[in-house]
Symmetry: C2
Subunit: 321 residues, 2 copies
């Protein structure tokens, strides 16, 4: 598995790592440097990897504008503080780095992530207080949970019996990378011929899925799980949109039965916005077609991406003549 290069029959230690994996196009920021994505790497000794001791947030850029950047920055700085990490940058500096990554990537539809890891300590001490926290960010092409076809016909999802990691273990308001429950739930979904999955909370009510919150619409009223879920910014945006549209919406317990019996179901994520669900565990949601409330919210959601109240332009340089 390696060329032999010395008398003892041992492989040689190379001076530089060569990685033949292809990565999406984009630009990252780490350690004071802007880098192509293929160069954006962290040590396998960083506690952000070895203990998933990290937090992050992801904002998207659509048609050259950041969407609700302030809310993402608020949540990110809140998560960093709760994990007792310190950032070497203030809010404006982080915003500038995100902006620079986006401009340098050239993407006008981008997925822009900011990360703070615990880092490592120079002595490799196991005490997290000794570690030097590390900030990084990157901009890559925008991605969505649902593809175009799924947006039109609605997603086919399964409800897994995997329990989303409870708030008594990990505060979901700290946006985190603890996804093994979600990944295993996703495999449960695939095993049942679904395209994605929802997990339940510790009481057996609906919680959330891999990277998204969920809403049910019944007789014109919207509900979404209240606790044990990431307070998603797209979820929050649905509350704001409902207020504008005069729709009733509440965060409460949502049973798996209530979800199956809803008139409409949709999921929400920065990665895709508002996305319809028309099949749950093999059964149709309502009449099995994307419903009018979902459609109305989705249209207003995308319209708001041009509204200066909720979006800020990326300052791309003028193109050379």
């Amino acid at each position: 598995m390696n060329r032999t290069a010395n008398d003892a029959g041992l492989p040689m230690v190379e001076s530089r790592h060569i990685d033949r994996q292809a990565y999406p196009s984009g630009v990252a920021y780490m350690d004071g440097q802007y880098l192509p994505m293929s160069e954006a790497k962290i040590s396998i000794l960083d506690w952000g990897f070895l203990h998933s001791d990290a937090t992050y947030d992801t904002v998207h850029v659509w048609n050259g504008r950041f969407f609700r950047l302030d809310l993402h920055l608020d949540r990110f700085f809140g998560s960093v503080e709760k994990l007792r990490m310190t950032l070497p940058f203030d809010r404006n500096q982080v915003a500038e780095i995100l902006h620079n990554c986006t401009v340098l990537s050239g993407h006008r539809a981008a997925y822009v992530e900011m990360i703070c890891t615990r880092g490592v300590s120079p002595t490799f001490s196991r005490d997290p207080r000794d570690a030097v926290n590390r900030f990084m960010a990157f901009a890559i092409p925008f991605g969505s949970v649902a593809n175009k076809e799924q947006m039109q016909r609605g997603l086919n999802i399964a409800i897994s019996d995997k329990v989303r990691i409870p708030p008594s273990s990990v505060d979901p308001a700290i946006k985190n990378y603890h996804w093994l429950d979600l990944v295993r739930g996703l495999f449960d979904g695939y095993d049942r011929n679904a395209e994605t999955a929802l997990l339940v909370d510790i009481n057996g009510n609906v919680a959330e899925g891999p990277g998204f919150n969920v809403f049910a619409v019944k007789e014109g009223r919207l509900t979404t799980p209240a606790s044990g879920v990431l307070p998603g910014i797209t979820r929050r945006t649905v509350f704001d949109l409902c207020q504008r549209l005069g729709l009733s919406v509440a965060a409460t317990d949502v049973s798996t039965a209530a979800l199956r019996e809803a008139d409409e179901v949709f999921i929400t994520s920065t990665a895709g916005g508002i996305m319809p669900v028309t099949t749950i565990d093999g059964g149709k949601v309502g009449d099995g077609r994307v419903g009018p409330v979902t459609t109305q919210l989705t249209e207003l959601y995308w319209q708001m991406h041009e509204d200066p109240e909720w979006s800020t332009p990326v300052r791309y340089p003028a193109r050379a003549g």
Copy 2:
């Protein structure tokens, strides 16, 4: 925060990442290459980082011998299978890579870790089935939860009210990097002037701490939490040692009260072996000194490191004359 290098006032994109962080001395294996630790890095896009979608195991080398390598390989291959990952190597090849990392590092007391991450897909698809799984390994100097002074006087620990991620969310038999509950529990411990911490399970009984299991000794009988904990190899070794010594040991519920009222308490980890605890939440355990059962087990534990039944020699090359 970066030198400006073009007309638009934008920072320059560098072609290579420069990382000024110091890392411990050691050798890693990745992508067919043996590398110094400072070169062992993974993409920040690897799902092993972004979703902590990874599993691992850590074996130690003591006085030039691997300790219970077979048990660590068994657990690692079991974890990989449960996460539906595939390794490009069989058991003997993984053992050979661990051996090579250790020999090339030169360490005779080493902490040797094997890792499998979900990897990334060439299209950056969100579907974990599309990702190319990645194996890596490294050998760095041996580290311990307890330092020499703590081994002599016993650790001072606190019991946090943080709940260890329950098995209904993440199967603890899949050794994983989901440590935010443990890290936050550790900070609870520091806040109460303790040196480390134990978490409770969902029923309020004692679970485990950051990287270790726990045992109580009461009237000559040993108990350790039965469920919701990593089935540690050092924990298993204590069961084996008890059998040799004719001591009674059982995996069962251990209440926080039972732990506080124990005659002796110790923790177990590959990182340090069997380590005494003499203070819990500010109160003495027993008479506040390291007890005879803990001492007897610790001595036999280290003796067994020379026994060919439980250890295998690292084949270091002969030193040049």
